[in-house]
Amino acid sequence: MHVRRRLFLSGGIAFAALAAMPRALLAAAWPDKAFSLTAAGEAMKDLLGTDQTIASDKIMLKVPEIAENGAVVPVTISTSLENVESISIVVKKNPRPLAATFEILPGTLPDIASRIKMGETSDVMAVVKTDHGIYSTAKQVKVTIGGCGG
């Protein structure tokens, strides 16, 4: 909680935001518990209320087949699903599977990209929460042991 408070105190944004978008901010507390859980299903239950998702071909998940380096795996997720509230990245075999979760605020497009760490070969899940359900798609990313690259 104190982490949130510091953000509030760190600048004018938070106060302006509080006035403009109280609901969005409320939804935006950093989900410390979900991030600490070691089973993907448990983390999803804590974050989204369920670990049951609807497989969807309307989610575009771009990840490499073989990661060049597990320390930097590019991930791009976009979706044509309507009324998206959040997008999450779940790496099933990471020690803490929930890697990141993004609040898609009104006006923001469900189209994000980041770079993540992977400890071993695993399914990477893109989980999309909309106002009418929770959808997902997954792809396997192979992580190999290197050490002699470049």
Binding site: P64, E65, I66, A67, E68, N69, A71, V72, V73, P74, T76, A113, R115, T144, I145, G146, G147, C148, G149, G150
Partner: protein, 279 residues
Amino acid sequence: MEKAAAVLVLCFATMLMHSVALAGPEEDRVAFVAFFKSRFPDIPFADYANGIYAIDRDAREQWLAIEDFPPYEFAIERGQALWQTAFPNGKTFGECFAQQQEDIRAMYPRFDELSGEVVTLEMAINNCRTANDQSLLAYDEGGIVDITAFLAFEARGKKLHVRVPDDQPGALQAYESGKRFYYSKRGQMNFACSDCHVTSVGQYVRADRLSSSLGHPTHFPVYRSKLGEMISLHQRFAGCVRDVRAKPFALQSTEFRNLEYFLSYMSNGLEANGPGARK
């Protein structure tokens, strides 16, 4: 008669040996480029500037994703600030170099007739500091790597233009010593640079594909994803030497500078495209 023929054969053999032993840098370079052309007929010459990503198509896409907004941009910015900051005497780095800022990178390493040794860009930067009564920058720390990142970025698109002047015997000696280093087996693994990066180029060592030496020096310094920081070409050399389980030479040692001289000459004509991002 038989004797004469034997002498003739001997003469011819000696001539042949001589011509091989005396193959100059340019003959070496042409043969080097031709080797890779025959190994990978579909890779255009210019693409070798992209290093391993000229060869490894799968990895190329991930590399491009990182190049879209590469972490080395911070290093370029820091390097530019260092480059532009005047010394206490009011002079700047730029005044130490004869070339325009964007022409500096591709001219190094160069042989300095006066000192009789190969001067790398890193060394030239430190020489400039000495000339202005400043302490030397450490070769394994950020400052100098950042400056070379900035100069590499400024030089993008300029073709490597390393010279081994005919009229300076020391230059050829340094080149030959770098060439010898490159082709000599070393370490407990008993590998020469060329064993991996020529003979077995493109093949896998565990999960890694071996990069081509043609294009090795074009893109340094690089941001290594596995380290999360920038490293110089010599730091990479040290890593490779350690990988074959030999004791690495010091950064900017004569051995590594001569190796850089040889390798850079081999990549003449390729575009400088540093800094780079590597896994």
